[in-house]
Symmetry: D3
Subunit: 132 residues, 6 copies
């Protein structure tokens, strides 16, 4: 279905194999999902994105579950089917309850509605909202 083949573990160049090892160690799961198997044709890009993602999505001022829900919101707005599926699964694995998911969906829906209205009417930004 994709525009590139999905590489199996046996197909990987050594640099890509090292990234897969780190994905498995970091996530403590055996399954390496299709996004990385598609990206593995370019080991340098694979490593760059995985390393940055690992840092960005880890704990910090925001907890990892909040970050996964933000990821879902962006993915819905960008109409990314793969990303909606994979990050909803990740969010659930990190503890997103049915109630949390329902509220996440409600916010995504509300934001999309008012985004479209503000873009249709081209509402000018209030002075009070601009950074000084």
């Amino acid at each position: 279905m994709s525009t590139v083949s999905l590489l199996s573990d046996d197909d990987l160049a050594p640099e890509a194999r090292a990234v897969f090892d780190d994905i498995r160690a970091t996530r403590q799961v055996e399954h390496v999902n299709n996004f990385w198997r598609a990206l593995a044709h370019d080991p340098a890009q694979l490593a760059a994105i995985w390393n940055r993602l690992k840092g960005v999505m880890g704990p910090g001022a925001l907890d990892p579950l909040t970050k996964e829900m933000i990821y879902i919101a962006v993915s819905a707005a960008n109409s990314c089917a793969y990303c909606a599926h994979s990050h909803t699964a990740s969010a659930r694995a990190k503890g997103m309850s049915d109630e949390m998911y329902a509220e996440l969906l409600a916010v995504i829906g509300m934001a999309s509605q008012t985004n479209a209205l503000a873009n249709a009417m081209q509402v000018p930004v209030d002075e009070a909202f601009k950074a000084t």
Copy 2:
């Protein structure tokens, strides 16, 4: 700048005035921002969106600040200038620190990058990610 005039308090129909009163009472601020002034040409739509937004953005399984950050993420993806400004201001008023905003931006950037790559390569969804 907008496609409709922004109604002042003196221009409001009674149903719209009641919504403005509720906005002021709920948010405990005098300033009613431009989005509502543009929407007020249609008091029924103004009331429907405000009432739904008030419910959706209030506390629940997710706290109001988390909801504002999700709103910012959707607004960035939808390229809504007004919404990015207004919800960043709201998130700050609800306690978003510089560190939280920096991490929010990092997640938005990372999600947008991998969304585009998954959409370019049309990666098929892993069976493990589908709801049963």
Copy 3:
């Protein structure tokens, strides 16, 4: 503000001038708006788009006002500030009332909300909706 200069009538190549003449004759207004002045750097592209637009937006199975409202809807979804402004002005010039605009906005908002929800949940298409 734009990435190209806006050509005045005196700057136009002959092929571009002919298109401007046709815009004025077709619309029966003297004002040629900025989109065409930006596009006029490439007279062939200017002519191709104007001629196609003139045909597409004219009367047919759908009336010209319905077409303008569809144009506004696409422009809001694509976050095109210029297009939202210019086609709202065109729709008003063709008879869009305040009530019609309010309902148009309500449909745009509703569609954007359910689009985002369907994209977030990746709802599978019902068999009944597929063309045979």
Copy 4:
């Protein structure tokens, strides 16, 4: 395929069942489509969206078929596969002819093209197009 299971009639909470009853009564069809079955995990959200949609999409200053075509236009721009299918089916059920659909597609295509060009060149809005 979706991120949530699709609820059958037997799975519904009472509040969701009441919404399904109203969908069937309003549309006078037995089939309740997948979007509502996915949304039914959150009966409050299901009820809120259905009730608003029922009002927005009904007759008013714009006829229901025009509203369905506007919905299709937004859905194409937002790349919502589910919505494109379901609202094209609805529009056909409400009388959209092949000629009307062809013209709708032509307007969607034309708007998307000029949206992209205006966004690429960042054409400034003509003074004449701004609301006073």
Copy 5:
């Protein structure tokens, strides 16, 4: 899967058949892909889009392969599954190597990331970037 049936060669109106003949002659392949078979319900639109596309995508100041890669970039950003597949196949047929595709993907990812950040922060355009 689509909202319209895909016309076989036997279903074509004469004007559509002439376009299919030209597609085969221009591309020197027997296979006419599904996009044109869906569009063929409206022969006038089919002819208008094919003729414009043939001109736009041919050699000029940019070579045809560069144009295909630009097409892929737009398609990823618009989340168009069909277009990502068809234009990746076209680009490969015109000589896109694995290394070129990998770099194309990297640029698409980088642009999407910084687009989202600039849209989230609403960075004002530097004076130096505006056309004079």
Copy 6:
């Protein structure tokens, strides 16, 4: 206008100052544009994005000018005003002629049109276009 203040050189933390020095050395221009001044509130993110961008946009299997044009295409599709301006300026500085820009715009417009049509009709992908 932005949601964050734009840092002047005097406001920079040491890690951000080092990035600015590298931007000036790499581009051989004194002007550091606003995007980096907004991002500089988070020096770690500033460094991560600049270093990745420097690598991605440099020469490789694709030349730097081709990459800038791909960046413009993504930016138009994502409706990023800042990015359209900044990368059009970059492309011109790297040698994009008026003819090249005109053809770039034509491809962006054509791709956006057919993307929208494919998304509206939900055309299924031809088997011939799928990776084996």
